[in-house]
Structures are given as structure tokens and as C-alpha cells.
């Protein structure tokens, strides 16, 4: 019985020319473009210098800043007011004002000040820009306690490496969450649902037959993503690939189950899509994909226990970047299993063969 139902699902899926193409092209396109776009790396900030000192020291200072990879000297202006105009018209991100007689104050060992003003509409950009610039200006590196710093797991400080595992999770939830959400409700709209309802197929078999195709799609998509990550960026997971697949298999079951619940409870496709979209946006924003989870206030972290995407992004990043093993991610795996069992039980229960 279940064999024929699954066969039916696959036939329905491949009947439209668009679907299989999208399942293959979507992860490819996302993996090509998005890691470059999803780049919060702060470099090449546009700097505007207002040098009122015109001394050897101030010239050397500007050269030192230019030599760093973080700043690009785009203009030099005479007054602070002119510099501000550069910021307002988006030609400069950060201003450095060197007052007159800086060099003389320094040589007299008197306090010498410079002014830094940064456009901090984007808070990360503003604060990182200011801390880079002030550390260059004050030459702060000479700390009295020598600090030896090591950045683990991402040696080249590559933001793309951080984003790739997260994007894989996004692609999985976009395809394996959205398509099931539209699936049952589409059958309702077209009317084929009634035909299924009069057959002796039981609820459990029906839901399993709906789930398995998305499970297969999940594996296909995941494989495409990892091949792309290796082919374009040369990223290979530090940990065991099998561990990620294990996590993904449970994660896909959970989100597909969620999609099926939404589909069961929706009257039309538009509604199903917006409900799924709403869930996805909230999951995504809270997942730690874009902002660090530990920076959230405690109440938000408590709510976040209910976010399946958070667990999978953690798994993906931990295994891909840090090489965590199954025992390291046991907590996340258990949480995802609870989601998978809970959502799918709910999906079976919410499917009614008669009104």
C-alpha cells in the first residue's frame, strides 16, 4: 500500500516541470550567491580625514591607517562640517579629525586628542570601525600584559565559512518545510483529497507516504549543498559528514511534519503559505543565523527552546566548523527528535478523513 502512495507522490512532484528544476537549482543558486552576500565582514570602510595639523606626524598617522585593510581613504576635507556632509551623502562611513598642533602637543608630552565620528546607523559597523580606528590611532597594541590570541576553528576569519552551514539549514527549511505545507492543501483545493479519503488508506500510512518524498529531497538538497560548498569555496566539514546527515534527517522530518500540520489546518494555499512563512521568519530571526544567540535576553532564549531551526544550525556549525562528534551534539539531536515525533504525531492526529 505505502509503496504505491509514495510512487504517487513522486509522480505528482515530477509531473510539473518547474518543481524538480527548482529543487536542484535553488540550492545551487543560493550557494553561489548568498555566502558572498551574507557577509557581515567589516572591511574597506570609507574614511574621510580632516587634517588641520598638516605635520609629519599627522601624515604618518594617515598612512598607517591607510595601510590597514579596514579603511579606505576616500576624501580629505578642510572642516568637520564638510566631512559630515560626506557622511550624509554616504561617501564616507567614518571621520577622523586631526586638530591643529597635534604634533607640538605630542612633542611637549601634553595630552593630544583626535576626534573620531562614525556613522553608526549599522551598530556593528560603527562600533567595529571605531574600535579599529582608535586602536590604530592610539597604538594600543602595546598592552602591558602580553596577550596571545588564537582564533579557533576559522583560521582565516572567513565570514563565508560561518554562513555556509547556516545557509544549508535555511535551504532545507525553505524546501522541506514549504513544499509539504502546500501539498495537502493543494489536494484539498483540487479535490483529489476526497478520493484519498474514500480509500481504506489509514491516517498513519498517508502521512508517512507524504513525509518520505521530502525526506529524500532533503538528502538530495543537502548533498548538492555540500558539493557546492566544496567546489566553489573549498569548504569541507571538519567533523564527520555522517553526523550532519544524521542531524539533517531528523530535522527534515520535524519541519516536514510542521508543514503537514499547517497544510492539514489550512483552507487554501495562500493561507498555508503565509502561516508557514510566518513560522519560518520567526524561526530564522531567532535561530542565531544572523545574530548571536547568547546576546539575546534570557526570556528570548527561553522561548527559543521551541525553535527547531536553532538546534539544526547549531549542529551544522558545530560539526562543520569545530568537528563535534555525536556525543557533543546529543542534546540538540534529542531536542530535534522530540520535535520530529511531536510534530508528526500531531500531523497524523490533525488529518481527518471525514468532516
Amino acid at each position: 500500500m505505502i509503496k504505491y502512495l509514495i510512487e504517487k507522490e513522486f509522480k505528482q512532484m515530477f509531473r510539473s516541470k518547474f518543481m524538480p528544476r527548482m529543487i536542484v537549482m535553488y540550492p545551487i543558486l543560493i550557494m553561489i550567491f548568498m555566502p558572498f552576500a551574507a557577509n557581515s565582514d567589516i572591511s574597506n570602510l570609507n574614511l574621510c580625514v580632516i587634517d588641520n595639523d598638516h605635520s609629519v606626524y599627522s601624515e604618518r598617522l594617515v598612512n598607517r591607517i591607510e595601510a590597514s585593510t579596514y579603511f579606505k581613504l576616500t576624501s580629505t576635507k578642510g572642516t568637520y562640517y564638510e566631512g559630515l556632509k560626506e557622511v550624509e551623502s554616504d561617501r564616507a562611513d567614518i571621520l577622523l579629525v586631526i586638530p591643529p598642533h597635534l604634533e607640538r602637543y605630542l612633542s611637549l608630552n601634553e595630552p593630544a586628542h583626535v576626534w573620531i565620528a562614525a556613522n553608526s546607523v549599522n551598530a556593528v559597523k560603527g562600533s567595529l570601525g571605531i574600535s579599529y580606528l582608535s586602536s590604530i590611532v592610539s597604538n594600543q597594541n602595546k598592552s602591558s600584559i602580553p596577550i596571545d590570541v588564537t582564533y579557533l576553528y576559522n583560521k582565516h576569519q572567513d565570514y563565508k565559512l560561518f554562513m555556509v552551514p547556516g545557509l544549508v539549514a535555511m535551504i532545507l527549511i525553505a524546501l522541506c518545510g514549504f513544499l509539504p505545507a502546500l501539498n495537502i492543501v493543494k489536494e484539498k483545493e483540487v479535490g483529489t483529497m476526497d478520493q484519498i479519503n474514500v480509500t481504506p488508506v489509514n491516517k498513519f500510512t498517508f502521512i508517512i507516504a507524504k513525509l518520505i518524498p521530502y525526506w529524500v529531497i532533503g538528502f538530495v538538497v543537502l548533498t548538492i549543498c555540500f558539493i557546492m560548498a566544496w567546489a566553489i569555496y573549498g569548504f569541507v566539514p571538519v567533523g564527520n559528514l555522517g553526523v550532519i546527515y544524521l542531524g539533517a534527517s531528523i530535522f527534515v522530518l520535524a519541519v516536514s511534519g510542521l508543514g503537514l500540520i499547517i497544510s492539514n489546518n489550512s483552507d487554501n494555499m495562500q493561507q498555508a503559505m503565509f502561516v508557514m512563512w510566518f513560522c519560518m521568519i520567526v524561526f530564522m530571526m531567532m535561530s542565531g543565523l544572523l545574530t548571536p544567540i547568547q546576546s539575546m535576553p534570557q526570556w528570548a532564549q527561553d522561548i527559543n527552546v521551541l525553535n527547531p531551526l536553532k538546534y539544526f544550525i547549531q549542529i551544522a556549525r558545530m560539526v562543520f566548523l569545530r568537528g563535534s562528534s555525536v556525543t557533543d551534539i546529543a542534546e540538540q539531536l534529542i531536542a530535534l527528535s522530540i520535535f520530529a515525533i511531536g510534530f508528526n504525531t500531531w500531523a497524523v492526529l490533525s488529518y481527518r478523513k471525514s468532516n
Binding site: F36, N39, D41, A117, A123, V149, K155, P292
Partner: protein, 366 residues
């Protein structure tokens, strides 16, 4: 005109019949504003720190205490060897490890090779660098009591323009506005037109004495009203709840928003002309339009840090220009002459979309 009005009334009924969708459409901006305003932070808070301190002297205790008492860090455990740090990183239990050598305070003044070690989880490069910056300045300042050598140095005075409290909501509010308007206008319009095609009711509408183009225009009006309502909600919430001030001219703000709403409505019309089924329209607007908009428009990720090719690509996103204009008008409070370019680009896009969607618009169903 009377016919036109009854067509508009029909559209409103269609929309409000589906309570759940309306609730979500009006609820998404509220949830997003609350999450962005109160839950999400791009700054570093409560970074989890492990300390390996075999020397246990006054200096290491002072440094550990000062790290722990700052808002950026929270010492969650003490470890006894470096392997434990590695295991904790792999379990995602810590973000930073502070490692002191034995007899730190005693050796420091005499032995120049003595140094403390800072291990950071570099997975997220920005957070790691921020963590290093904060930690090193705390460690340096904990040394202040000892007489510092007179070093010739420049003191930077810092001023944060436009966003003195470094709130991330200043950056997000214009982004949320762009995303909601895009979703509401482009996605909803396209789906609702395609649905009429799929159900066959479009045929009925087209044989009515109304000109086809007015039928479509009547479809757009309710979404325009809804998006203005959403815009107002977002602005009120951001001013009264998040305390993000509107620094610029309110008229200019609404003018630019209206222009953007028109652009997105015509994108919706264009999609509905091309797509024949609801699923196709949803996939086109949902995955092919929304995802690039979220990532490429500068909503979350700054456009300047993208490679050149993507920067050019992002120029084709209407939301990019709108968000840029909103940041300038709302947050920076600049006048018309500074957003002139954005307005010009949006008007140009509107003209292109208008001609394209009217060209592809078919009076008859095939």
C-alpha cells in the same frame, strides 16, 4: 466610477474573508519589530567564558573578576587543563577561554616571555574580533593601578553619529519596512490575481463592462491601503515602543514609501502575468523574490561588504534603494537633495515595470 468602487469592495471582502491571513499580515510587522527591538542584538553580550587559572594570584583574580563583571562576558566555568577548553568548545558551552600560565603575577615583571592566552571561537569572525577587543581593553585597564610608563600616545575622542546608543533597531526598522511592503504588495497581489485565473473567476470578471486594466487596478487598491496601514503600525511601534526617532520630514518619508509601494504592486502584476498557477506564483515571489531581497538589499547585510558583482546585482533590487532612502530620511534626517538619487532610481524602475506589466497583460485568457 461606481463600478470601480464596487470592484474594490469585492477585493476587500476577498481579503477579509480569510481571517488567518489578515492576522498574519498585520501581525508580522509587530512580531518583527518586537523581536528586532528587544530580543535580537548584534552586539556582544554574555559571551560565555572558561578560565584556566593555575597561578591563583591577586592579578589573575582581578582580571577574571573584571571580565566577569563586565556586561560582555560571563565566566561560566573553571577548567584545569587546555583539553577541557577544547571539549567545551566542541559542545558549544563556551565562546572564549582565558588561559593564565602558572605563577603569572610573579613572573610577569621579570620574564618577558610570560604571556596570557586568549582562545576565541572564531566561527563567527565579527563576534570573535569584538570579543578580543573588549577582553583586551578590560585586561589592559585592569593593569592601570600599576604605574604606566609615559608613552607618547594620542587619545581618540569618539562620537557615534545618528545612533548614539548603538541600537540595532535603528538599522533594522527601515529593513523591516522594506520587507513587509515587498511581501504584502508583490506577493499578495500576484497570488490573488493568479488565484482568480486558476479558479476561473477571472473569466467572469473579464466579461464585465469594466476595462480589464481597471479590474487589475481595483485589485491593487486594497493592498495599497493595507500596506499604508502596516507602514503606520511600524512607524508608531518604532517611535513609541523602540524609541527610534523619526529625524526627517514625515511627508518625504510617506512620499518615498508610496513610490516604493507602487513599484512592488507592479512587480506583483508582472509576476501574475507570467505565472499560471498559485504554486508557481508563490515560488516566484516567495523564494525567487523574497530571499534575494532579504539578502541583497542591505536589510541585514551591508551592501558595501559584498563583492562588486553582487553590488551591481543589488542595484536591481527596488528594496535596496527604498531601504537606503529610509535610513537617510528616518534615521539621519537628511533632506530631499540627499535622497534624490534613490527617488530617481525608484521612479525609473516604476516606469519600466509599468510598461513591462502592461505589455504582458492579456485581456483574454488563453
Amino acid at each position: 466610477m461606481k463600478q470601480f468602487r464596487s470592484f474594490i469592495r469585492k477585493e476587500f471582502r476577498h481579503i477579509f474573508r480569510d481571517r488567518r491571513t489578515v492576522l498574519i499580515l498585520l501581525g508580522i510587522p509587530i512580531i518583527q519589530i518586537i523581536l528586532f527591538g528587544f530580543a535580537l542584538s548584534t552586539d556582544l553580550n554574555n559571551d560565555r567564558v572558561a578560565v584556566l587559572d593555575p597561578s591563583q594570584d591577586e592579578l589573575t583574580h582581578r582580571i577574571t573578576n573584571e571580565i566577569n563583571s563586565s556586561q560582555y562576558f560571563k565566566v561560566v566555568r573553571n577548567i584545569s587543563n587546555a583539553d577541557q577548553a577544547d571539549a567545551a568548545f566542541k559542545k558549544n558551552e563556551i565562546d572564549m577561554a582565558l588561559i593564565f600560565p602558572p605563577r603569572f603575577a610573579a613572573k610577569l615583571p621579570n620574564d618577558s616571555s610570560t604571556h596570557m592566552q586568549l582562545l576565541l571561537d572564531g566561527s563567527d569572525p565579527n563576534m570573535a574580533r569584538m570579543g578580543y577587543n573588549y577582553a583586551s581593553s578590560i585586561i589592559t585597564s585592569s593593569q592601570k593601578q600599576q604605574p604606566a610608563k609615559a608613552v607618547q600616545s594620542v587619545i581618540p575622542n569618539i562620537q557615534l553619529l545618528y545612533n548614539p546608543q548603538m541600537k540595532s533597531s535603528y538599522n533594522f526598522v527601515p529593513g523591516v519596512m522594506g520587507m513587509i511592503l515587498m511581501l504584502l504588495c508583490a506577493m499578495m497581489t500576484s497570488i490573488s490575481i493568479v488565484r482568480e485565473k486558476e479558479n476561473g473567476t477571472m473569466e467572469v470578471l473579464l466579461v464585465s463592462p469594466m476595462r480589464p486594466i481597471f479590474i487589475i487596478l481595483a485589485k491593487m487598491v486594497p493592498y495599497m491601503v493595507l500596506s499604508l496601514a502596516n507602514l503606520l503600525t511600524i512607524l508608531l511601534l518604532s517611535v513609541y515602543l523602540l524609541h527610534v526617532p523619526i529625524a526627517g520630514n514625515l511627508g518625504l518619508l510617506f512620499g518615498v514609501s508610496f513610490l516604493f509601494i507602487m513599484v512592488t504592486l507592479f512587480i506583483g502584476l508582472l509576476i501574475s502575468n507570467v505565472a499560471n498557477t498559485q504554486v508557481l506564483a508563490m515560488m516566484m515571489s516567495g523564494l525567487m523574490l523574497m530571499m534575494p531581497t532579504v539578502f541583497l538589499s542591505g536589510m541585514v547585510f551591508p551592501v558595501e561588504s559584498m563583492p562588486k558583482v553582487l553590488q551591481w546585482l543589488s542595484c536591481a533590487m527596488p528594496a535596496r534603494w527604498y531601504i537606503q532612502a529610509m535610513r537617510k530620511v528616518m534615521i539621519e534626517g537628511v533632506g530631499l537633495q540627499y535622497v534624490f538619487k534613490e527617488i530617481l532610481v525608484l521612479t525609473g524602475m516604476l516606469a519600466i515595470l509599468l510598461t513591462a506589466s502592461l505589455k504582458t497583460f492579456k485581456n483574454r485568457l488563453a
